[in-house]
């Protein structure tokens, strides 16, 4: 099965659902990714999915969509484009080290235990130049012990 079809399966949509898209590009006109000096058009992505074509992992929308739902809010059909983007990220397995650590914590404790996430993502944070923000983040620090959620 092509990756795009697997992605659609992860959403609440079926491929035919995208046929309602009017091609009006209102989504593109409000898309936050276009504030980043990148040019992107969610409508094109939906069209590719509808036609069964692949959407690449390095497509700017797949990489940089912030999940702001501005597109959904403006679309006449309220198509939930960020849900589709998240599904594409999952099938492309392009999660960042931070996201991996997040899921790792949820798998162990049932919750996000931030010190664990920071530790696991530490090499990435060091390389990514996050250390310089630490002073500003002091107010977020606080020590508490992890609480393991019972599996019911």
């Amino acid at each position: 099965m092509p990756k795009t079809d697997r992605a659609i399966e992860l959403t609440d949509y079926e491929r035919q659902d995208f046929s309602v898209c009017l091609g009006c590009k209102i989504c593109a006109s409000v898309c936050t990714v276009n504030d980043l000096d990148l040019s992107t058009n969610p409508q094109e992505m939906l069209q590719k999915l509808f036609l069964g074509k692949d959407v690449a992992a390095d497509d700017p929308l797949v990489r940089f969509c912030t999940g702001c739902y501005r597109c959904t809010g403006a679309c006449p059909w309220e198509i939930r484009i960020p849900d589709v983007v998240r599904a594409l990220r999952q099938v492309h397995a392009t999660e960042s080290p931070f996201e991996k650590a997040f899921k790792g914590s949820v798998a162990i404790w049932g919750r996000v235990y931030e010190p664990y996430v920071l530790m696991r993502a530490a090499p990435f944070l060091l390389k990514g130049g996050y250390i310089k923000h630490m002073m500003r983040w002091m107010e977020y620090m606080g020590i508490h012990l992890p609480h393991k959620v019972k599996r019911t």
Binding site: T66, C68, V106, R111, G142
Partner: protein
């Protein structure tokens, strides 16, 4: 009144200030927040599989069943996930911003006003979109600021995206988007979302970034809250 409370992971960690603020504000009004027993993470936006994501919040609703009918969830991501998982509308899943209504302010004891201070209320995304899960009153922060004599600024950016979601993925994205917002804001930036707080705080320089609950506590007379 007693509400079921879903703090979520961030309020038990980096957003501990929001957690304390909410609890204090509710306690001052005679309401209690009781945690859903043994709640689990709602999955935020990290899971591409909609069923898997909804599963986390469905489990939380199961844990609340029989204990509560109304659930308060302050983190916008948690709030949205819980509401979406409650397909049959079995619970009233409420964002605290929708509880700060006329009755709340009528019952509130005022200690201070905001005269001479400028604020930019910043809602970000998830409190306002998608429509099905948006809060009912999308001008509640402006109304509060004006009610107590403060000046409201930055109307044009209140619903823009700060890119908080990308802060640990592509930091430059968050930096660019947050700066666009900060440039068009004035005075103290007032937020509700923990991730917005972090995005704003990281790039705000000398500008002050506070939670809406800090603003309420200040009005209630707590000098150090702002």
């Amino acid at each position: 009144m007693e509400y079921g409370y879903y703090p979520g992971c961030s309020l038990t960690g980096s957003a501990h200030k929001l957690d304390k603020g909410i609890k204090k504000v509710f306690a001052k009004q005679g309401h209690t927040l009781k945690e859903i027993p043994d709640w689990n993470c709602c999955g935020a936006f990290e899971y591409g599989d909609r069923k898997e994501l909804a599963g986390f919040s469905k489990k939380n609703l199961e844990k609340a069943r029989g204990h509560f009918s109304e659930i308060v969830a302050p983190c916008p991501a948690c709030y949205k996930n819980l509401r979406e998982a409650d397909e049959k509308r079995e619970f009233a899943v409420t964002h605290p911003l929708d509880l700060f209504d006329e009755a709340f302010f009528a019952a509130m004891k005022q200690g201070k006003d905001l005269k001479g201070q400028v604020f930019t209320p910043y809602y970000g995304c998830i409190l306002l979109r998608p429509k099905e899960t948006a809060i009912r009153n999308n001008t509640v922060m402006e109304e509060t600021i004006a009610r107590f004599g403060g000046d409201v600024a930055g109307e044009s950016i209140k619903d823009r995206c700060c890119g908080g979601n990308q802060i640990f993925i592509n930091k430059s994205v968050t930096e660019k988007l947050s700066r666009l917002i900060l440039d068009k804001s004035r005075g103290t930036v007032v937020v509700f979302c923990p991730l917005c707080h972090m995005a704003m705080k990281t790039f705000s320089g000398e500008r002050k970034v506070v939670y809406y609950t800090d603003l309420l506590l200040y009005i209630m007379g707590e000098n150090s809250a702002l």
